[in-house]
Amino acid sequence: MSWFTPQLTANLWAMTQALIILLGAVLLGAVMTIVERRLLGLWQDRYGPNRVGPFGLLQLIADMIKIFFKEDWIPPFSDRVLFVLAPGIAMASLLLAFIIIPITPGWGVADLHIGLLFFFAMAGINVYAVLFGGWASGNKYALIGAMRASAQTLSYEVFIGLAVMGVVAMTGSFNMRDIVAAQEDVWFVIPQFLGFLTFLIAGIAVTHRHPFDQPEAEQELADGYHVEYSSMKFGMYFIGEYVGMLLVSALIVTLFFGGWHGPWLPPIVWFALKTGAFLMFFVLLRASLPRPRYDRVMSFGWKVCLPLTLINLLVTGAVVLLVPG
């Protein structure tokens, strides 16, 4: 086995890790659909899906079979190329962003210099999934939904970037592992509380989860940008949303809650626990909050969140400059 060098084994191991993380993200996204429905049922005093298998655990498989075998209809009035391309962008851009997340000291796909910026790049590309999907559908409701979604995502992306710049300034690096290492003693949620709040809000808005799901409002838009999608194309938008939720939860944990740091338990458990807690929080938000009006969402973003992030960045910069070391 002369060609089985340490370099090759390291490469193979890295590839396996990447594959496992990719599959894990997709699977968790799929499982979240069921977990969310069960939890919504619990919090809204109803049952939720509990018929298929014990506690409705097999509902996921039933749903998958259903969605795979549905008729995959491409509307004749649609723009075919973009219509097919858009769900792919929705899923791929968010899955790609997972490569920067350090799960444990030994686990993680890429250790990029520009770590955090890569997420913003992918979030920026993710806008096109909604925009092209809505336009290519050739449907008024879809177009209005796409317009709302992209306007919302663009405005919230402005300060999702500003919100984490405080963390970057305190660490002095965009690298995610450096950021986690800097939180060995104090999690950034304490010195960067404003940054955390705004990042949380903007994170929900960027994944257009409830209460920021005006682009998909059923009552007004009949489901927004994916109203013409069926079968697995719809499935990809749907799973993509949950993958986005997972991504934002993992990012919040990495940036503000010390990543894998924690006493007694092994790193992977801490990471999973913290991420799980934020996933539950997202579901709880959906279960408890009403949907605000669209113009209020926009003005809240520009008039409240943006000034808050700027103040946070200003104060953080001053503190970093004044306190040496």
């Binding site: 913003f120 092209f132 336009w135 209005i144 317009m147």
Partner: protein, 179 residues
């Protein structure tokens, strides 16, 4: 790194050709996005990931979204395609492309004189190094650009501002005034 550089450069050229020759405006914008992404990859291959990622965030992620926005709002249909086809008659593009081809040949001969290989090393230029250069020797330029952008921002908010008494009519029906 060299393979990545040439491949993404090739894709950028192809996609840009697609922008020019495409008849559907939205598809042309899509090609432009691909071209920008390919240029970002060129930056990555040259060892400037910071510039590359900024290219994606700012150009592909923000500015192009506005382009798509406008193109979608204009609702360009079959008429626009016909018009684009008319503009793409050989008579219109042969002359300029001959001249451009001459320029390209000149550029290539100049480039072939030098040694291009050592440039594509893939050495990393970190964000920190870029920042130190920007806020060191180039501080004045950065400040001037910031002032320019601020002036643009103030102008834009002035132009987009509602006139006195326009408060009630400004809210479009989709924003749900009546509800």
């Amino acid at each position: 790194m060299a393979i990545a550089f040439y491949l993404s450069g090739f894709i950028a050229v192809l996609a840009t050709l697609g922008v020019i020759t495409g008849t559907s405006p939205v598809h042309a914008v899509l090609y432009l996005i691909i071209s920008l992404l390919a240029v970002a990859l060129v930056f990555f291959a040259l060892g400037a990931p910071f510039a590359g990622v900024l290219e994606i965030i700012i150009y592909a992620g923000a500015i192009m979204v506005l382009f798509v926005f406008v193109v979608m709002m204009l609702n360009l249909g079959g008429e626009a395609r016909q018009q684009e086809k008319l503009w793409l008659q050989p008579g219109t593009w042969i002359g300029p492309s001959l001249l451009a081809g001459l320029l390209l040949a000149l550029l290539l001969t100049l480039l072939l004189g030098g040694e291009a290989g050592p440039v594509i090393t893939g050495d990393l230029l970190t964000a920190k190094a870029v920042a130190i250069t920007l806020f060191g020797p180039w501080l004045l330029v950065v400040e001037l650009a910031a002032m320019l952008l601020l002036a643009a921002l103030v102008t834009a908010s002035h132009v987009g501002r509602l006139g006195p008494g326009a408060e009630n009519t400004a809210t479009s029906p989709s924003k749900g005034r009546s509800r």
